[in-house]
């Protein structure tokens, strides 16, 4: 998917994260901050990048502010932000296909 416009998903509440995606030109530029950076920073980064890869996002500026979210929440927020950037988040989602 191509990031067409800036989009945000998630909140800054505990156990959540806020994901911002913007159009980019040089691959994935990820900026990550987390309240559990020292313990889980690497794993969060991996989950974000895996999810973007699964959605075939090649170029994007991605900003993640994590407040201790589980992997399933990280996936949900990244997916929602990407789908919102393409105006495709409201219906006919490929549950169990690309979204898994």
């Amino acid at each position: 998917m191509e990031i067409l416009k800036p989009a945000v998903a998630g909140t800054l509440e505990s156990s959540d994260l806020m994901v911002t995606v913007e159009p980019g030109e040089n691959g994935i530029e990820l900026s990550l901050t987390s309240s559990v950076m020292n313990q889980y920073g690497r794993q969060i980064k991996e989950t974000v990048l895996d999810t973007l890869d699964r959605l075939s996002v090649k170029d994007a500026k991605v900003t993640v502010v994590d407040k201790g979210a589980l992997d399933c929440t990280i996936k949900a927020r990244v997916e929602c932000a990407v789908y919102r950037s393409c105006d495709q988040s409201q219906k006919d989602i490929d549950w169990g296909g690309v979204i898994r």
Binding site: A9, G10, E13, S14, S15, D16, A69, L70, D71, C72, T73, K75, A76, R77, E79, C80, Y83, R84, S89, Q90, K91, D92, I93, W95, G96, I99, R100
Partner: protein, 304 residues
């Protein structure tokens, strides 16, 4: 991926707790409270501009979190919104045990949802008929049509009244003695029993009013409700406590069932237990008491 067992249409549902499907902090450990069913909410708890995000969050929660024996129901948006069709797709794809139809007003509403559920089961390769349904009655029209709603589908396991919306329609407000909803609760209960489905009362919203809450739960039990909708984990214990049969009721039920089996084998139809007349009409009630007692961990005998 957590495969959930096939949902049972009739199971113990004393407590059904609402949780906002958009809030990861709430839904990640909802199974620890010991509630019978959780109700992940896509409707009123989720702001209009977060409906899409709530679905992504719900899908991964359903697929990732092991809710164990806790039943997982999802409240979808009303049929008058642009959201309900995608809500049904995500519920079925994620493997929710059941769907709660908000603002249900007719048998046709149930049939419309059922048709979309069936289509989604086919689309996502889910066993046909797996996804259960229940309806929330929130308007005078819903209450008037309660029986046809309860009987509209083999997937229907129950019906619940939603106090906030109903009182609004009736131009009344919460009253401690329940007189504001007495007729509606009664009509819904009669309809549910006539159709052979379960019946659940509305939420009690004042968390600080413990006395009022106790009174309402006791009235629920006296009226014959199967369970109650809840908004906070601290409300669970009282319902489980009050809905459980007392030791005296359990002993009485045991005596009745045992005596009935002995007497009917000997060709006697009506007899007395502790001075009270007993015939076949008392048996289903006594058996239900024992089943409920077993489910509550209070009975270990072999009569049911």
């Amino acid at each position: 991926m957590i495969p959930r067992p096939k949902p049972e249409r009739f199971r113990l549902r004393r407590t059904m707790m609402f949780m906002n499907a958009q809030k990861p902090g709430l839904i990640k450990d909802a199974y620890i409270y010991g509630v019978d069913s959780i109700m992940l909410d896509l409707e009123d708890a989720v702001a209009e501009n977060q409906k899409d995000a709530a679905r992504f969050s719900l899908y991964h929660a359903l697929k990732t979190i092991d809710y164990g024996d806790t039943e997982v129901i999802v409240r979808i948006n009303g049929l008058d919104t642009p959201h309900w069709e995608e809500d049904i797709r995500v519920c079925v794809a994620g493997g929710a045990d059941g769907i709660r139809i908000a603002k249900c007003e007719s048998a046709q509403d149930v049939k419309t949802v059922e048709a979309h559920v069936l289509a989604a089961e086919r689309e996502f390769g889910v066993e046909e008929g797996r996804t259960l349904l229940m309806a929330a009655l929130e308007s005078p029209k819903g209450i008037l049509n309660a029986y046809e709603i309860c009987a509209a589908s083999d997937r229907m396991f129950g019906v619940a009244i939603s106090g906030g919306d109903f009182r609004k329609c009736m131009q009344t407000k919460f009253s401690p003695d329940g007189v504001d909803m007495m007729v509606a609760r009664g009509q819904m209960l009669i309809a549910a029993r006539a159709a052979g489905v379960q019946c659940f009362d509305t939420v009690f919203t004042n968390l600080d009013d413990e006395e009022g809450y106790r009174a309402e739960v006791m009235q629920n039990k006296a009226m014959g409700f199967d369970g109650k909708s809840l908004i906070n984990p601290k409300q669970i214990r009282l319902v489980h406590e009050l809905f459980a049969p007392t030791q005296k009721e359990i002993i009485q039920a045991e005596k009745i069932v045992r005596a009935y089996r002995e007497q009917s084998a000997a060709g006697v139809g009506v007899f007395t237990v502790d001075g009270k007349m007993i015939d076949i009409a008392f048996i289903p009630g006594a058996e239900r008491t024992l089943k409920l007692a077993r489910a509550c961990g209070l009975y270990e005998g072999d009569l049911v």
